[in-house]
């Protein structure tokens, strides 16, 4: 059972980040009637999966991934999607103040009670970490009594060794169908892994089912 929230703001850099790590959580909040916004910073322009034979090229991929993102949001029931117009794989090189302002403007407008983003150092992809850094800095600068709670996703191979087990585990088995539909919507990114996952789910593979049915987050502690 997820806690009721006033508004949830999800901030990730790539179309599909929301579906891999948080689709069950997003779909469950939608079912609970919690207002939820997803700010997706890029269109995954630098994605490597073009197929062979190719279904896309470097210049057509962004439009394909944009449509996949819209379809995934439909699958999760999410209606407030913000596409923020940055370029894939450049987040860490952006002006940090521009990023902090982007995050602060979203938070000011939406006054979320909960923000979900990536861990600032343990989220593997440089765009992930840079997104987490900007979001945490924006929230850090707020008066302490106005700050939303911030959940961060971490999946570096050393995560548990470095920061222990996740603080929050959402049990979202009830939203599994929507999560699978969202993952399927991101076909350009998931067509290589989903058939294998589907086999494992069908075979009651516990690790695969846990990945589908639970979503784990760390709660960031502000100074």
């Amino acid at each position: 059972m997820l806690q009721k929230e006033r508004h949830v703001l999800v901030i990730y850099p790539h179309p599909d980040d929301e579906s891999f790590g948080s689709a069950g959580t997003i779909a469950t909040y939608v079912e609970m009637g919690v207002p939820i916004t997803y700010a997706c910073l890029t269109l995954g322009e630098m994605g490597r999966n073009l197929g062979n034979p190719p279904f896309a090229n470097r210049e057509t991929l962004p439009q394909i991934r944009k449509q996949e993102l819209l379809d995934a949001c439909d699958a999760m029931g999410l209606t407030d999607l913000r596409m923020m117009g940055l370029r894939d794989k450049t987040i860490e090189f952006e002006d940090p103040e521009k990023l902090v302002k982007m995050m602060a403007d979203l938070i000011d407008e939406l006054t979320p009670s909960l923000v979900i983003t990536f861990h600032p150092t343990l989220a593997v992809h440089p765009d992930h970490n840079a997104t987490g850094v900007a979001v945490l800095e924006a929230v850090q600068r707020m008066p302490s009594d106005e700050r939303p709670v911030v959940y961060v996703k971490a999946f570096d191979n050393d995560t548990v060794k470095l920061i222990g087990k996740p603080h929050v585990v959402h049990h979202v088995a009830g939203a599994a169908d929507k999560k699978i539909a969202a993952l399927r919507a991101h076909a350009s990114q998931t067509i290589w892994m989903l058939p294998d996952m589907e086999k494992r789910w069908a075979a009651n593979d516990q690790e695969a089912l846990e990945w589908l049915h639970t979503e784990a987050f760390y709660i960031h502690t502000f100074e």
């Binding site: 073009l50 090229n57 210049e59 794989k89």
Partner: protein, 116 residues
């Protein structure tokens, strides 16, 4: 994109020679390479919308091909090119796709700027 047909690609490279053109050049192993394979040395490079003028462009070798552009005082080349297309905006898009369908290298030439 289709697999490289050397004579046709050579004609297209010739058609952009001695013109000011925008270049996209990229090599990549993917951002997750050292996550999935510990110790993997992940290297790559990316430039986009750099304007150059080349005097000689050449595609050579068996697939995967190499494509080189000779400029008055410099060079650009890409190796591993497998596919190409001239898109509806008259941009020459070349890419090296592995058997797994993942892009490893891209070289693109256009008389108009690429989107951001």
């Amino acid at each position: 994109m289709q697999t490289v047909e050397v004579n046709h690609l050579q004609e297209l490279l010739d058609s952009f020679a001695t013109k000011d053109v925008y270049i996209h050049l990229e090599t990549t192993n993917g951002s997750y390479a050292s996550h999935f394979q510990e110790g993997f040395f992940n290297a790559g490079a990316f430039i986009r919308n750099i304007v150059i003028r080349y005097e000689l462009g050449k595609v050579t070798g068996d697939s995967p091909h190499r494509v080189g552009l000779k400029m008055p005082s410099g060079w650009i080349y890409a190796q591993g090119i497998t596919h190409y297309t001239l898109d509806e905006h008259n941009r020459l898009l070349m890419a090296g796709l592995g058997p797994d369908g993942k892009l490893a290298v891209a070289l693109e030439i256009s008389e108009t700027p690429f989107a951001y």
